[in-house]
Every structure is written in structure tokens, then in C-alpha cells.
Amino acid sequence: MAYSAEISRSSPTAILFLLDQSASMQDVFGGAEQRGDAAPSKARVLADTVNSLLQNLVLRCAKEDGVRDYFHVGIVGYGERVQPLIRPAAESPTAPNFVPISYLAERPLRLEQRVRQVNGEQRKVKFPIWFDPRAKNGTPMCQALDLAAQIVRDWIDLHPHDFPPIVVNVTDGEATDGDPLEFARQLRSFATDDGEALLFNVHLSSSEAPAVELPDAAAELPREDYALQLFQMSSPLPFSMRAAAEQEGYRVNLDTRGFVFNADPASLVRFLEIGTRPSNLR
């Protein structure tokens, strides 16, 4: 499979987020600078991670004349229920359960003022928030992957020649409804002409083991209960994404998988090529 289809407004790709909203996400996140009571919950880190990924995606597509729809975005939450968290407008041109990225750009829940260091000065910047932390009940990850497979299949029916959908699963790893590996295999078996659907996993753990980004072997994983399973569920990075990763200085090979443990997953969407990107912007 080539994974070489141009990503453009006429040939967009789909990014489907699966967000673990189970009760265990209330536990503290082990990868934060803060420790103990001061550490944020995994649910807080998940909300920050998803808001940040969506912001990055919008900014990749934003030009002075608006946001170009290189991406269709879907979001499924799993916890108390397994359900799509955004609903397209009735007239949406996208497949069911997806919205064009421009739709999200215009509709954050709110814009927060945050202070950032810019050229040595403190400046206020607007930070869009789409999701707040939520944590309740079990972790029906298998159901979520099953729903994701249906959603991905519907999208592929409408986009049989485009860059295949990318599913980004953000979780603490503990499925309570079966073995997610089988469901992950099924999801990854759906394909466009350009390649099979990609499943990337973002593991947010209470473990304080060092962060791991884009590992290529199980030996690199922390001794954490669910890291190996999530690593095995994750797709290898296709050639075009490996090439982009190498340009950013990552050491990657054919076995490198789209998996991060307690690390910023921004690179996973940054490696999708949509045009000339300043090498001095990260």
C-alpha cells in the first residue's frame, strides 16, 4: 500500500479520535512534572491532549482566507456510553459522524485566554477548548473500536481513492469489555486504494515510567500493564510519515509504530503531509 495519495480539499483524509472517558481516567497522570496530589488527572490530560491536537490540526489547515478542509474529523467517546461526540450538520458534505475541520475551527466550546512566552514577552493568546474532562464507568474500548470500524467503513465508501482514515485512540489502556487486539485488527483491515486504515494509540498512564514516543520494538516499552497491548494494536508508520519523521530528527524504521506512552502525540498528525511546512516551525 502506497499511502501516497495527496491530501487536499478535493481529496481529504479522515481523522477519528476515540476518547477514553472511563472512571479510571480520574486517576493521576504519571507523566506530568507535578507529582502526587498536584498531578493532573488522566482525564484532564486527555482533554488537554485532544484540544491541543485539534488546535494543531486547524492551524495546519488555516490560511488568511479561512480553514481549508484537508481533514474530516470525527470524535467518539467511550465510558458511560460509546457515542459520537460531534454530530455533523444536516447539510454536511462529509460521511456520517465526521465534520470538515473548518466546522470545528469555527465552533470551539469556548476560547480561553492563556499567557504564552513570545519573544521574551508574556502575551495573551486565545486557546480553543472543544472538550472538558469527563470520567465515568467502565472502558468499553472494544465497542468503541467496533463503532470506529463502522464509521471508517462509511467514510471509505465515499472516499475509496483517498489517503486512508487515521484513528487516534487516547486511553489509559484498560479495556473492560474484552480483548481489543481483535477489534483493532478488524478496524485496520478496512482500506482505500491508497492503504489500510491507520490506528495510532496514545497511552496516558499513571505510571511514572519515562515517556516513549514511536517505539519500534516491545523492548522499548515501559513495564506497564497495557502498553504492550496498545503497541501491538498500533499501525506501523507508512513510508511518507516515516520520511517526515526522519526530517524532524526521529530515528524510525519499518517497525516503528504509531504509539506514544505519556508523551505528546502532536507528531502523529504533524507527519501527515499537506504541503510545504517551514522546517523552523514545530
Binding site: S10, E64, V125, P128, Q247, L281, R282
Partner: protein, 271 residues
């Protein structure tokens, strides 16, 4: 022997003319030194077409990449826009690959006016990013600069930022330094400045003279069998433009190293 200049551009397929983000500029071809500049605004920055145009305009005045950048930055104010994503993009700065060339008369005999008394002289070029300069002499490609291989191009070149700071809000890394080169020219030489897609296409065919001669032929006007041929009685500029559009469309459809679907620009200078 006045300098003959031809400029060609087509937007990325599927994009409108308004979305074309390359830029080019040339000085008065009847006066030396003659200057030509080309720039390629980055897809992933906002206002990059405007920034590219700002730099090429300043290069004609200054003939120096860094001075032109400073002058362009001093004048650069993207329009205010309170949409959160436009504010964030503007804060990241605008970016473009840039290349300029200055063609001078020989030695101390440099003087304004025509150059027919001494057909030859010196040239100097500067570049930051992945635009390319070609020198064609005696029908052969004598120089390609700063890139010599088609596989050297990628999606993350160093680019000229509208922000002078090396440490802006986006966590920018240190800007790479521009590169410069120089040489001598003779009557009959042709220079070609191109943005990256066309440069990569050229370099994939550096041994296939017919392929890139078909590109140069766009500047030669209509011919009986060449791509310059155009129906009707349109003006020469229109015919040349039509020839280039047909050339680009055919090159994008090619099987072997097709022309990448990108804004595509060429400045051809015949001496």
C-alpha cells in the same frame, strides 16, 4: 543586446489564481545590473503569498537577500483579523523560500544602459530554501544551484520568516543561513529561476535535453511543432502563457517523475 525576460506561472491544480502563493519580479531588462527574484510562499503559513511578493519587490531594490528581508519585514503588516486561528497563524509568521540573482556587466566597465559593447559579465545569486537557479549554455545545463539532485527536495525546507526573531511563539529553531554563489555569463546564455516543483522536475531530467528544452521553448513563442504553438491570433504573451500552461498540465500527468502538483513558476532570462 537587450536582455529578454519571460515569466511563467500556474497555480496548483485545484487551486484558484487567488490562492497562488509563489512570487516573482524582474528589474528593467535594458539596464545593468539586472535583478530577478523568485519566491515560494509556504502552504502551511498564512499570508505567505503576500510575504513572498514583499520580499521579491525588495530584492529588486537591494540586490541582497538579508537586506531585502529586513526591508520587507519593516514594511510587513498582515491585516488584523480576530479569528483565533488567523491570529495564531499570524503570530507564527509568514514563510517563503527565496532566490535572487543579480547580473552585472564585466569588470569596471559596468554602466547603465545596453550591454552590447561587452557581451558578458558577472552574476551573483543568493538563496534560502528550495527555489533553484539553472544556467544553460550552448544548449547544455551548465549549473543547477543550490540543488543538483531531484531527490534533495522535501516538504520541510528552511524558509525566510517574516519574523526577525529566531525564537518566536511557535518555538522556531534557528534560521538557516542563506547560501550564495557567483560566476560569469556570456552572450547566448540563459538563466532560469524556478520554484521547487519545477526544479525537481528539471533535475530528474538533466540528461534529457529535449524535456527541458520544451520548457525553454515556451519562451520562444509559437512554432510549427513546439509547445509554443497556439491557435488563433492571440498576442505573443498570451501564446507563451498558454504554452506554459499546456507544458505544466502535460508534465503533471507524466508517468516518470511527474511535475508535483504545486504552484509552479519560472523566470527565464536570455542574455
Amino acid at each position: 543586446m537587450p536582455i529578454k525576460v519571460h515569466t511563467f506561472h500556474v497555480p496548483k491544480s485545484g487551486h484558484t489564481d487567488d490562492e497562488y502563493e509563489d512570487a516573482f519580479a524582474t528589474s528593467d531588462p535594458d539596464r545593468l545590473p539586472f535583478r530577478a527574484a523568485i519566491a515560494d510562499g509556504a502552504t502551511e503559513s498564512a499570508f505567505s503569498g503576500g510575504w513572498a511578493r514583499a520580499w521579491v519587490a525588495e530584492y529588486l531594490k537591494h540586490g541582497d537577500l538579508i537586506e531585502s528581508a529586513a526591508a520587507a519585514r519593516a514594511r510587513w503588516t498582515p491585516p488584523a483579523d480576530d479569528r483565533w486561528y488567523v491570529e495564531a497563524k499570524a503570530a507564527q509568521g509568514s514563510h517563503a523560500a527565496v532566490l535572487g540573482v543579480e547580473i552585472s556587466a564585466a569588470g569596471t566597465d559596468s554602466r547603465p544602459g545596453h550591454i552590447d559593447s561587452r557581451p558578458g559579465g558577472s552574476w551573483r545569486a543568493e538563496s534560502l530554501g528550495d527555489c533553484c537557479l539553472f544556467l544553460i549554455r550552448g544548449g547544455a545545463l551548465r549549473l543547477s544551484w543550490p540543488f543538483t539532485r531531484a531527490d534533495a527536495f522535501h516538504n520541510r525546507p528552511a524558509l525566510l520568516s517574516s519574523h526577525a526573531s529566531r525564537d518566536d511563539s511557535a518555538g522556531a529553531a534557528a534560521m538557516e543561513a542563506p547560501v550564495a554563489t557567483e560566476g560569469t555569463w556570456h552572450a547566448g546564455d540563459a538563466f532560469m529561476l524556478t520554484t521547487d516543483a519545477l526544479a525537481a522536475w528539471m533535475l530528474a531530467r538533466r540528461e534529457e535535453r529535449d524535456a527541458w528544452r520544451s520548457l525553454l521553448a515556451c519562451a520562444d513563442g509559437p512554432s510549427a511543432d513546439g509547445p509554443g504553438e497556439a491557435p488563433g491570433d492571440s498576442a505573443p504573451d498570451d501564446r507563451a502563457r498558454g504554452a506554459f500552461e499546456r507544458f505544466a498540465a502535460a508534465a503533471r500527468r507524466g508517468d516518470d517523475h511527474p511535475l508535483s502538483n504545486d504552484d509552479t513558476t519560472a523566470v527565464i532570462i536570455r542574455l
